[in-house]
């Protein structure tokens, strides 16, 4: 009989070849865990190649989940459990495993060939010299799985394809999880392939029952988390972002027009939106990044809620289009799901290195509002806010996400449609007399007149325009005036922000940890621990990168030092110096990986004033 032990939180790292179905196993474990009521955070980490060289360390695909009955803010640092489907997966991850951790190793993946591919020396097998403090479950998953599928009329190759589900079944047993969610997922996914359905069902159950047959196996139970009351679902950042855009279009009573060109890690936004055309969502896969943004501009002219999304290299191509949109003063959301750069960089790894590009990267005096999402579920709010800002202020808005937010997931207390903010487009009605395209309201916002409206015929263009009429103007005084009006219009958006508030700590103190984007969770954990250790620290997280909140400077001045952890080479630090002459301390990490809380905590301790 197995023993069951209660745990507060666990971090599991699934790892295998990029063809091993690690991401599927990970996302199934995640959904099941979410439905079991745990709080969680995930981090998929995979190579840029679809099928990277088999058996090698470069080809290892990983999926980490941190879940628990307590609040979970990050995908966890060092995992408690490593599921290694082959020797390369073991090699890559074993040094990261916590002391006293658990390894589930597929022994078939440690044969001579795999050991060699993983870089082990001749006759060296790490399973022969296991670290003492780590508990090993050595299971010949490949063999057991084949046996479970023995009488199925599918090829051996196809049989092996469901061995990830054997591993998942075993992990489900260890963590006392129900198979129901994954079984119903199979039924839907493999509805048209009964033999594949059967194989996956059998593999999952075989893995689970295998756990049951082992004597004296340690099992674990993680109680439900005490999340705030509400309705929850699990969601990835890209999904949440897509839903935020749809919600914004519904609230604004506009049709969503999304133009995109496939690019990692932004493509899933297009995939998600393309599934919801009954919401009036128009998706257009353009011939290139430039066509995507300019098609969005065309849509904005015609009255669509125009959106395009991309990642770094695509953002570079969209630069001229952004300039046109801000010159035309048409609403548009441009999403940059950042990845490692420069150039093609690290397509599947995360980074926050497009911040300065977003704020400054255009020809001419070209201010564009920039906002940043800070967690997978928050991508919904950020998208909704970006769309509202664009439509109500007649401006392109850049929304920054990143690969970690895009592919990571967490439970989301989804809102009710009726509770979402209203969005009021600055539309000009047909009753406007003597329509002037650049006649502005008190917020310096010009009226949006749509083709098809009689009497409002007008021409827009990228040439400098005369104030009020919008006619082409090369007048010197007018140009200076227009540059300043466009800047003032964007600056005025800061007046609509809610007051900034510290997430942790007092209004004054020693170290304020200021972050933006995906660092929120890691900073939260680090600052929480620093506070518990008696340090005078605070946490502030920026949603609005440009314009910065007008109360930011006074908050920063409440602290002796400002620490900015960023996944770049100190870009927000530049911005703070630029705007406030504040010499913030940078904590930079440019490794394609999110921060670990301990890295931030160590830095806080290093700079904290010890009295």
């Amino acid at each position: 009989m197995s023993r069951v032990k209660e745990l507060q939180k666990v971090t599991i790292h699934f790892a295998g070849d990029s063809g091993d179905g690690i991401q599927l196993a990970g996302s199934q474990f995640t959904n099941t865990t979410a439905l079991a009521g745990n709080d969680l955070s995930t981090f998929p980490d995979f190579p840029a190649e679809i099928r990277a060289p088999i058996g090698t360390v470069a080809g290892v695909s990983g999926f980490q989940i941190n879940f628990g009955s307590v609040e979970i803010d990050t995908p966890g640092g060092r995992p408690d459990v490593l599921v290694a489907m082959n020797a390369a997966a073991y090699h890559k991850n074993i040094s990261n495993l916590k002391n006293g951790g658990v390894v589930i190793a597929n022994t078939a993946g440690f044969d001579k060939r795999n050991l060699k591919l993983a870089g082990y020396a001749e006759n060296e097998n790490p399973l022969d010299s296991k670290p003492q403090d780590i508990q090993f479950h050595e299971v010949d998953i490949t063999k057991l799985n084949r046996e479970a599928l023995l009488d199925l009329a599918i090829s051996p190759r196809e049989k092996d394809r469901s061995r990830n589900m054997f591993a998942l079944g075993f992990v489900y047993f260890l963590y006392s999880r129900s198979l129901e969610n994954t079984l119903s997922f199979f039924k839907e996914k493999f509805a048209s392939k009964p033999e594949v359905l059967e194989a996956n069902v059998r593999s999952l159950k075989a893995g689970y029952h295998y756990g049951d047959t082992i004597e004296a196996l340690q099992r674990y139970r993680i109680e439900k988390a005490q999340l705030p009351a509400g309705d929850y679902r699990n969601i990835t950042g890209n999904q949440a972002l897509a839903l935020g855009l749809i919600a914004a279009a519904q609230k604004a009573n506009l049709d969503l027009f999304y133009a995109g060109y496939p690019i990692t890690p932004a493509s899933d936004i297009l995939h998600e939106l393309a599934r919801h055309k009954n919401f009036g969502v128009k998706t257009f896969q353009a011939e290139d990044e430039i066509a995507a943004i300019t098609a969005a501009i065309g849509s904005a002219f015609a009255g669509g809620l125009a959106v395009t999304a991309t990642s770094g290299p695509g953002m570079a191509l969209k630069t001229e289009g952004l300039g046109l949109a801000l010159m035309l003063e048409l609403p548009m959301v441009v999403v940059n799901v950042q990845r490692g750069g420069p150039s093609t960089g690290l397509p599947t790894k995360t980074e926050q290195s497009d911040l300065l590009q977003a704020v400054y990267g255009r020809n001419g005096e070209a201010p564009v509002p920039v906002i940043a999402a800070h967690s997978p579920a928050d991508c919904f709010n950020a998208a909704l806010e970006a769309a509202k800002m664009a439509v109500e202020h007649m401006t392109p808005v850049i929304l920054l996400s990143d690969g970690y937010l895009a592919n990571g997931s967490e439970p989301w207390a989804f809102p009710k449609a009726k509770d979402l903010p209203t969005i009021t487009a600055a539309l000009a009605g047909a009753d406007v007399e003597n329509y002037q395209p650049y006649q502005r309201n008190e917020n310096l916002v010009r009226p949006w007149a749509l083709p098809g409206t009689p009497g409002l015929e007008h021409r827009l263009g990228g040439l400098e325009k005369e104030d009020i009429t919008g006619n082409v103007s090369y007048d010197a005084e007018n140009h200076q005036k227009m540059v300043r009006i466009r800047a003032a219009k964007v600056s005025a958006i800061a007046n609509t922000y809610p007051p900034s508030h510290l997430l942790q700590g007092a209004a004054t103190g020693d170290v304020l940890v200021l972050g933006w984007g995906n660092t929120l969770g890691a900073i939260k954990v680090a600052v929480g621990q620093a506070l518990a250790q008696g340090l005078a620290v605070g946490q502030l997280h920026l949603r609005h990168i440009h314009p910065l909140p007008s109360d930011l400077k006074s908050i920063l001045q409440g602290y002796r030092q400002v620490l900015v952890p960023e996944l770049n080479n100190g870009q927000l630090v530049h911005l703070l110096r630029d705007q406030f002459l504040i010499d913030a301390i940078a904590l930079d990490k440019i490794k394609g990986q999110p921060f670990l809380a301990e890295e931030i905590l160590n830095k806080i301790k290093e700079i904290a004033t010890h009295e």
Partner: protein, 335 residues
């Protein structure tokens, strides 16, 4: 479709902006023919939109009293695509040039043509970069001497109509700035065609490339150098003295006074793709340059298919319910 269209005149389509092309530019004629022909097309003024890129020709929208956008270099086809997909009721006209449409924007042009959105593309071809003061363009002849090619250009020129046919355009025509009647006919035909209508307009740049099309516009020469295509009629030119017959797939010029009659000649059928490809290759001095509609076909338009797919999605997925969408398939409640 509902209310009748007001009886417009050309003046109704003239904006209050001063036209700033060089005196004598071929663009004036194209603008005038457009302003003259649109009142006859049954389009409401508010439903007309002109989208251009960058270049001399791309100033065109500023002078039309309709909706318009002077966008960025080469991207007008993409802007027009987003516009048309957002409001399919609009009559959309893309105004571009040989540099804008075939060089920096070549990619967008071919993709627009293959998708076949229901809109019209006017490519003003003057075989030169005018607005940047006279560099050779992608349609300039090989060996052209310009400021950027003092020893002669090394680029083999594009054949715009062959390119359009290669991109599976569904309406391909050529006309010329100096022939107002023909220009108006082609503009009207382009409007009536359902799909992407591609019109190459030979346009004289009297400052940087004066007379480049003189052979096709000069009264003394044009009878021998041009071939006016008339649907269902034999290919006859040179004031009725010469004709073209097909020897297999090879076009041969024959003299009608030397034993050939109209019955021996190639009869123009603009729906014949093979013949259109041959016609598009009438591109050197050995054959007269065809003017008119080289090719047209009826093919579903992208915007139509797009709208059908939206309707079908609605049918399959049902009425949109935002709360249901936000909830997703697997949710749970924390009390």
């Amino acid at each position: 479709m509902s209310s009748p269209v007001a009886p417009y005149t050309a003046k109704d389509f003239s904006s209050d902006q001063e036209v700033k092309w060089c005196p004598g530019c071929g663009d004036y004629s194209i603008l005038k023919q457009m302003q003259t022909v649109v009142p006859t097309l049954g389009i409401k003024r508010e439903d007309l939109v002109f989208i251009s890129g960058i270049g001399c020709s791309s100033r065109f929208p500023y002078y039309m009293n309709t909706y318009g956008m002077h966008s960025i270099h080469g991207r007008a086809p993409a802007v027009a695509t987003g516009l048309k997909l957002t409001n399919p009721n609009l009559s959309v006209w893309v105004i571009t040039g040989d540099g804008d449409g075939l060089s920096i924007g070549g990619n967008h042009l071919i993709h627009l043509l293959r998708r076949n959105l229901d809109l019209n593309i006017l490519l003003f071809n003057n075989e030169i970069y005018g607005l940047t003061k006279g560099q050779y363009s992608p349609t300039s002849e090989f060996g052209k001497y310009t400021k950027s090619s003092p020893l002669g250009s090394l680029d083999h020129p594009f054949n715009p109509l062959a390119l359009a046919l290669g991109a599976d355009a569904t309406f391909v025509a050529r006309t010329v700035d100096r022939d107002p009647v023909h220009l108006r006919e082609i503009l009207a035909a382009a409007h009536h065609h359902k799909g992407s209508s591609f019109i190459e307009v030979y346009q004289n740049c009297n400052v940087f490339n004066d007379g480049t099309f003189a052979a096709f516009t000069d009264k003394a020469q044009k009878a021998n150098t041009t071939l006016e295509l008339k649907e269902g009629k034999p290919l006859i030119f040179a004031n009725g003295e010469k004709g073209i017959r097909l020897d297999g797939l090879k076009p041969v010029v024959v003299n009608l006074s030397e034993g050939f009659s109209a019955n021996d000649l190639w009869v123009h059928d603009s729906y014949d793709a093979t013949k259109a490809h041959i016609l598009s290759r009438f591109f050197d001095d050995s054959l007269p340059r065809p003017m008119g509609i080289l090719y047209q076909e009826k093919r579903f338009t992208y915007d139509e298919a797009f709208a059908n797919q939206m309707a079908k999605a609605h049918e399959i997925l049902g009425e949109p319910d935002l709360d249901k969408l936000l909830r997703g398939k697997n949710s749970w409640t924390v009390e």
